[in-house]
């Protein structure tokens, strides 16, 4: 049963990610991305990380990809692209090489440190794992307790990104006059 679920979810993820790079239509590619996200969410549930799975769906599938689609539709760039044209010369060969290197690296990492991969929830307090809300409590302790500094810094980074976007997109009065 466990194996069956794993194979099905992994297939979903792999087929979805292949779809993201091979579909010529951006909307189809975005939908393939959703398929991948769902596959990964099922894998999370299988590992007992229910909360992570729910957040994965709510944030990534429910908000981020919806925003992708929103932009694609709003800007009208939803026409199928010709995949044979290569905007950057030699881009494909380099991308293939980097991809292969990445696969090699990951495989090597998994093979050489199998114990690190199979130990679940390392660094987390694993007492009271049976409680239904253990997921949330452990994540909260980890994020708001042990790694609170990194968490806060990340939120500042996001704030900077938002403010930066607004500043970049805003037309200042002087520039507006200059262009007239």
């Amino acid at each position: 049963m466990e194996l069956f679920v794993f194979v099905a979810a992994a297939l979903m993820a792999v087929v979805g990610s292949l779809g993201v790079v091979t579909r010529s239509n951006p909307v189809h590619a975005a939908m393939s991305l959703v398929l991948t996200l769902f596959g990964v969410a099922v894998l999370f549930v299988q590992q007992g990380a229910h909360f992570l799975a729910a957040v994965q769906i709510i944030v990534y599938a429910g908000a981020i990809v919806v925003l992708f689609l929103f932009v694609i539709m709003l800007l009208g760039v939803d026409r199928a692209e010709n995949l044979r044209i290569e905007p950057l010369a030699g881009q494909r060969i380099v991308a293939g090489a980097v991809g292969a290197a990445m696969v090699g690296l990951l495989t090597a990492a998994v093979l050489t440190s199998e114990s690190a991969v199979t130990v679940s929830g390392q660094g987390l307090n694993s007492t009271a794992l049976d409680s239904p809300d253990a997921n949330v409590k452990q994540l909260a302790e980890s994020i708001f307790g042990d790694n609170v500094f990194a968490f806060e810094i990340t939120s500042v980074l996001l704030l900077v990104a938002v403010v930066g976007t607004v500043i970049l997109a805003r037309r200042l009065p002087k520039q507006a006059e200059a262009t007239q």
Partner: protein
Amino acid sequence: MGPILAIDPLLDGKLLWTPLLIVLLKVLVVFVVGLVATMLMVWFERKVIAGMQNRVGPNKAGPFGLLQTLADGTKLFLKEDLIPDRADRFVFKLAPYLAFVPAFLAFAIIPLGGDYRNGNGGMVEIFGHQTRVQLADPPVGVLFALAISAIAVYGIMLAGWASGSKYPLLGSVRASAQMVSYEAALGLSIACVLLVAGTMSTSGIVNLQGSIGNWNVVTTGFVPFFIFVIAATAELNRPPFDLVEAEQELVGGFNTEYASIRFALFYLAEFMNTITMSALIVTLFFGGPQPVSIGSTTLDIPLIPNALEGTVWLLLKVLVFLYVYVWFRATLPRFRYDQLMDLGWKLLIPASLGWFMLLAAQRVGEDEGWDRVVVTTVTALVLIGGYALMQLAMKVSRDNRDRDGASF
């Protein structure tokens, strides 16, 4: 069994035939109840609106016109199924299912009955097995509902895009903006409930709401409930927030190009979602299948066993909210698009965030033994300060806009 099947206590341990059959039975019951409830909901809505508008409403098919929906549905099956030339054929066919499936999935986590009295925790006994009257009780139950409502937008969005025509596309762009905006307010008001309840499982939340004083609508201080109802109406694309299918502006909105059974699926999903959302409101704020009780006196429905009584109470409570939704539709005019966005971003999200902070401060104050009055005063002052800052920011931005004539 792995954790994936641990969402139901029935499936713990060795897999036996009886538990498996009970689960299959539950799936079937939930599906059929969903379909029949949707059918009756369409009838109920048409009849109530007709009453409010001084008309008769459906009255030909069956007693009181009860079978009108069935007749309409059967007719839709037999209609010609059109696919526009410029449509994206695959996505066009897929979209109705993307709207229909989430509508039913969300129903799975609603406690549909059961005995929550005397510390029973909603357990009932079927064929010698203890189980809940609910299809699944995952540890992140409420988040599951939120996730489902988050992906429900795909059906509408892709339907509009795949139609390959202007009005549906406008409808779906509106839908995505609206649903993503109100998702935040929805999530924050749910967070208030989770903070008070201390658990995310739906049956756990119901179990804590024994009497009216313990209903989450009271314990969270009413504000999250109102925010939730408004945000839920927007998530459902129901009037007064039905800009997605504003007939006067967009012909039929996202489903303009749909006909036959594909259109019926959208229609079904819309009404199913209304029922699910009402049931979710009852579960989160009004004690779900718990009987109404004030203090220690419980209103008991005679002649019905406790295990069934939960279902009756749930039905009664859900009916109230279904009526409210129909009432909204009959009385409130549609919002303008900028009003919709203003309400969502400038009122609901800040208000729910502020209220969440207030509740969190109260909890911390309780844990640390601080003076309740001081905590409330300080939080209220912070909230007023935040509100003033926000007003200032909006004023500055308005002045800038007036001066520059910027387009956004």
